[in-house]
Amino acid sequence: MKSISRRNFLVFAASLAAVAPVLKGLAFDRVGAETPPNPFPRQETPVVPAKYLDGVVTAVGRDTLSADTFRGALTIQLPDSSGVWKGGFGSGVPIEVGDQFYAWGDLTTKDQFAAEKIHFNIRNEIGPISELQVTSAGDASFVLAGRSGQFQVVTNDRTTIVHSDGTEVPFRGEDKLIAPGAMVQVLGLARGGKLEATIVYPSF
C-alpha cells in the first residue's frame, strides 16, 4: 500500500512537471500586458564586491602584511607567489611599506583578510607617446601622456607587446607600432618615478 501511494505520487509529480510550462504560458497570455522582469535593473547606490580590497602597506611580515584599507587596519594573509603581482605574478620584487595594493580574497575575521590575488603599485595607463628612445639592447623608454598624468615608461627583457591577433610576444624597442605620437596602453609597475612596462598594447 505504501509503495503504491509513492508510485502514484511520482506519477502525479511527473505529470505536473510536464504541464507546468504550458500552464505558465497560458497564465502569461492572460496577462499579456505584464512586462517581464527587467534583466538590467537600475542601481542607484554603489556596490563594493565583498572580495575586493585596496589600501596601503604599513608593515611587511614573512607571509603577512599589515595595511590601512577602506575596511580599516587589517592583517593580510598573502597567497603563494603565483598570486602576488609586483611587475608580474611571481616576480619576486620585494613588498615594501608604502606600497599601494589591490587585492581579491576573503575577510576571514573582522581584522584579517586572506588574499587570493594581490597587486602592488600596478598602473594601467593609455595615451600618446613622445620622446621615444631605443637602446641597442632593444629596450625602449618614452613619455606616456596617460589619463592620470605623464609617465616615464621603460621596458625591459620581461616586457611583452600584444599584436593585433592577440598574440603576446617579447617587446623589441624597434617595433614599428611604437613611434612618437602613437597611442599606446601600458600595464606596468610604478617604481622609482618610472613606469616599468610589463605589457604594451599598441593601437593598430
Binding site: 534583466p39 538590467f40 535593473p41 537600475r42 542601481q43 542607484e44 554603489p46 556596490v47 563594493v48 564586491p49 572580495k51 575586493y52 580590497l53 585596496d54 577602506f70 603581482w85 608580474g88 605574478f89 589591490y102 587585492a103 581579491w104 580574497g105 587570493e116 590575488k117 597587486h119 600596478i122 598602473r123 594601467n124 593609455i126 595615451g127 589619463r147 592620470s148 611583452t160 600584444v162 599584436h163 593585433s164 591577433d165 592577440g166 598574440t167 603576446e168 597611442m183 596602453q185 601600458v186 600595464l187 605589457i199 598594447y201 599598441p202 593601437s203 593598430f204
Partner: protein
C-alpha cells in the same frame, strides 16, 4: 537587447569623480561611451547603446566566461579603436571598468590590461 563583442580594460579613479557621481576604485562600476545623462557619445568604434547613470549592463569575460552586471557611472572617450586583448585578440574597446568590477570577472586579477568581452545592453 543589443549584444556586442570586443574588449574591456580598467582605469583608476585617482581621486577624480565620474560623470554621474564621485568615483571609487572599489565600486562595481564602469565608464560607458554613450551616456544619455550627460549627452556624451563616443560611438566611433562600436555602436554602444545609450544608457543613463545608474543603468546596469552585463559584461562577460570571454576568456573565462565569468559574467557580472555592472553599473554605468561615467562616460569614457575611446582613445583609439584597435587595441586587441591578449587572450583572443578581440577589438574594439567597449567599456572601461573600475578595478573592482574588472577583478570580479577576471578571477580577481589585474594582471592583464585588456580582456575579451561580450557586453549585453
Amino acid at each position: 537587447m543589443t549584444v556586442m563583442y570586443g574588449n574591456v580594460t580598467y582605469y583608476n579613479c585617482n581621486g577624480g569623480s565620474g560623470a554621474c557621481s564621485s568615483c571609487n576604485d572599489g565600486w562595481n562600476d564602469l565608464a560607458w561611451p554613450n551616456l544619455s545623462t550627460t549627452g556624451c557619445v563616443y560611438n566611433g568604434c562600436a555602436n554602444n547603446c545609450s544608457h543613463a547613470c545608474g543603468d546596469t549592463v552585463q559584461v562577460t569575460n570571454l576568456c573565462n566566461n565569468q559574467a557580472n552586471y555592472i553599473r554605468v557611472h561615467d562616460c569614457f572617450p575611446r582613445v583609439g579603436c584597435n587595441y586587441a586583448d591578449n587572450c583572443m585578440g578581440r577589438t574594439p574597446p567597449l567599456a572601461d571598468l573600475l578595478p573592482a568590477a574588472f577583478m570580479a570577472i577576471n578571477g580577481g586579477s589585474l594582471g592583464a590590461g585588456r580582456i575579451p568581452a561580450k557586453v549585453v545592453c
